[in-house]
């Protein structure tokens, strides 16, 4: 019996976005990373193209994180004391090809480090490793607005991705990213309409869509993942149906959203019914990442190197058009 295969005829395409700039492009990165370009839903190679594999990043902080559990900190040892050593460890030892630096020390209710110090950290990390960089602020709008322009200047030419820009604080970030040729992270609170509106506002200021990544706000596994999953699916369907203002690649944070919760954090002694913590926590981050990849994620930021590594293996298997035999 001939089964007639069902192929969708999509008209749209996800906009390719490139992170990092090599010497030829005015930066000092050893390589660049391009994401996007899909003309089909994730990994449906029978129907369209996925010219660029989704990419993974490791998250590093500019201060030792207070709320990371010991199991996670163990992966980095003393390197968490210093962002430069931390960055090197991720690249040299764990093979990360993309890093995400969180400027946690700038938080006003914490260390309240000045913007200049944050800019120095960014400069030092860019000097220490030659992979493309994502830089995140502390999340306080006023402070981020002071920090972002300095960071943007410090990284001029390197085409870093800077965020988070959201409804209330996108303008100054857009302006400084435009000036220095960076990529911006455009965030909406699990809302497709606000997401689209954000992208319209940002592009209306003159930012090209090729320099925007969308952050749909990641929901943790067991903590609202389904909302994020469905918004991502709807955004991606919108892109494939030709909506250019929903066609930017998607960035998500499975690391951050896994290690916040007790399913990953609790040691086995505190939760014997859940079994051994290492496997459980890495599986938690990995499972979150797989679900997000199936919803259309293009850039995934991890906390544990093993979760990133296993996700890389998964992506590699999924990117071979005929698949890789298990």
């Amino acid at each position: 019996m001939g089964v007639e295969l069902q192929r969708e005829k999509w008209v749209g395409r996800v906009t390719p976005v490139t992170l990092g700039a090599t010497a030829a492009e005015g930066g000092t990165r050893g390589h660049t990373i391009t994401v996007g370009g899909e003309t089909t839903l994730p990994f449906l190679h029978f129907e369209g193209q996925m010219p660029h594999a989704p990419v993974t990043a490791l998250e590093i902080w500019d201060m030792p994180p207070a709320d990371w559990p010991p199991l996670l900190l163990d992966a980095f040892g003393d390197a968490v004391q210093d962002p430069v050593s931390w960055a090197k460890k991720c690249v040299d030892e764990y093979g990360a090809r993309l890093l995400c630096l969180r400027l946690a020390s700038t938080a006003p209710d914490g260390q309240n480090a000045p913007p200049e110090a944050a800019a120095d950290t960014v400069r030092a990390v860019l000097k220490a490793v030659d992979v493309p960089l994502i830089v995140l602020g502390c999340g306080d709008f006023d402070k981020d607005n002071q920090v972002f322009p300095k960071v943007s200047d410090a990284a001029a030419g390197e085409r870093v991705a800077i965020g988070i820009a959201e409804q209330n604080n996108y303008k100054s970030l857009v302006a400084s990213c435009m000036m220095n040729n960076h990529v911006i992270l455009s965030q909406a609170p699990i809302d497709i309409n606000i997401q689209k509106q954000m992208n319209i506002l940002i592009t209306e200021m003159g930012m090209p869509p090729e320099r925007i990544l969308m952050d749909p706000t990641t929901g943790g596994l067991g903590y609202g993942l389904e909302y994020c999953y469905s918004i991502m699916e709807r955004i991606r369907l919108g892109a494939l149906q030709g909506d250019k203002m929903l066609a930017m690649p998607l960035i998500v944070f499975p690391g951050q959203e896994s290690w916040r919760f007790k399913e990953a954090k609790e040691p086995e002694s505190a939760a014997p019914q859940w079994g051994e913590q290492y496997t459980r926590a890495i599986s938690w981050e990995l499972t979150t990442a797989v679900a997000l990849l199936q919803a259309g994620a293009d850039v995934l930021v991890f906390r544990h190197p093993e979760a990133r590594r296993q996700t890389e293996r998964y992506i590699e298997a999924m990117m071979a058009p005929a698949g890789v035999e298990a």
């Binding site: 089964v3 069902q6 019914q273 051994e276 496997t279 199936q294 298997a317 999924m318 698949g323 298990a326």
Partner: protein
Amino acid sequence: MALTGLEIYKLLPKKNCRECGSPTCLAFAMQLAQGKGSLDACPYVSEEAKEKLGAASQPPIRLVTIGTGEHALQVGDETVLFRHDKTFFHQPPLAVTVYDDWEDARIQARLAELKAFSWERVGLVLRVDMVAVVHRAEEPGRLAAAAQMVQAALPYPLYLESAEAGAVEAALQAVGAGKPLIAAATPENWQAWVELAKKYGCPLVVSAEGLDALAELAEKVAAAGVKDLVLDSRPATLVQALTDQTQIRRLAIRKKFRPLGYPTLVRVPQGDAWQATAYAATLIAKYGGVLLLPAEVGIPNVLPLVTLRQNIYTDPQKPIQVQPGIYPVGEPGPDAPVLVTTNFSLTYFTVMSDVEASKIPAYMLICDTDGTSVLTAWAAGKFSAESIAETMDKFKLAEKVNHRRLILPGFVAVLSGKLQSLTNWEVVVGPRESAGLPNFLRARLSA
């Protein structure tokens, strides 16, 4: 594809005898067309008519029941490709594998582990749902012995697999009353499996490589009288599995393609627990039916998988709710702080985990807002000074704590004045985002 009243009328006996309770056959047909009443009410209807009418009212993907009684599982009857289009209805059962060539002690240890693995999350029990017993032993009778061991230890439905129908038949003599899922009918040997499935009334896996061969086999087996089928397309890779699952779902729902209108089987390959977890997660998200997990996938891998399954199969229109009440976080004493919030499960969990992160024991007062978040509930009038005051009374908050102080979510700071005058409690406005709670609570404690 519902039939019209006239189409149904043509299939009725046209005796107008009124025994169905309708004045005429036509009136009866019109009723059926509107989905009212049942064809069984007419004692004279022909077998042919029953079949035609039955087919027209069948769902695009057949609902298949595995097992009996309280632990029976239903799989299939999905109606959409994306959960946001409506919802996914029947969670894919997770089956953990034991092999009949394992020593008894090893099987028992595995079963004990599965028995212990069950916990409640927002009122829903998360656990493994099935045990797959796979025949690998030399002795033909070993499958029956292993299946009996499993059935004696756990009330979950079974999956029985062997290359030989005879081995499964021997097992069914012992455990067949539990209506296990049996595997697998192939293009070479399906007749023997059809006999077994009929004799014991069991759902049957049909297994053939590729969708063409699978559709052909499923049609033959259905024509031979076994309708409760589960499809196995034997993909060589995960990419192929995703492709097959997507095609089967699209064909069944968009094209009403009957031969593939059944739930599916996913065999997660052996070898590597990490990639097996990723494999299973992929097909929980994308259309998998019964998921067979290999032996090396342990409880710590299963925990995220059952959680993902719960997330993906949550009805987008009906957010999960938490029972209103007073919930302790840690081991709070009478002087512990009290935080008010809504009964939207996500709000509850997020606030709870942020309070946990503060390491300060506290009480959460959960108000009934029909499962909506703080801002949505407030905008809809479901989270008001009055409703908070009522909840405090109802659950006798004043008897739990020796102070009179409430922490209100920052987003509803506007309620604080009214709440204070209604209750005479001091109302403290907390942070807007739950993530601010650890700092907020610690700062208050040291103040």
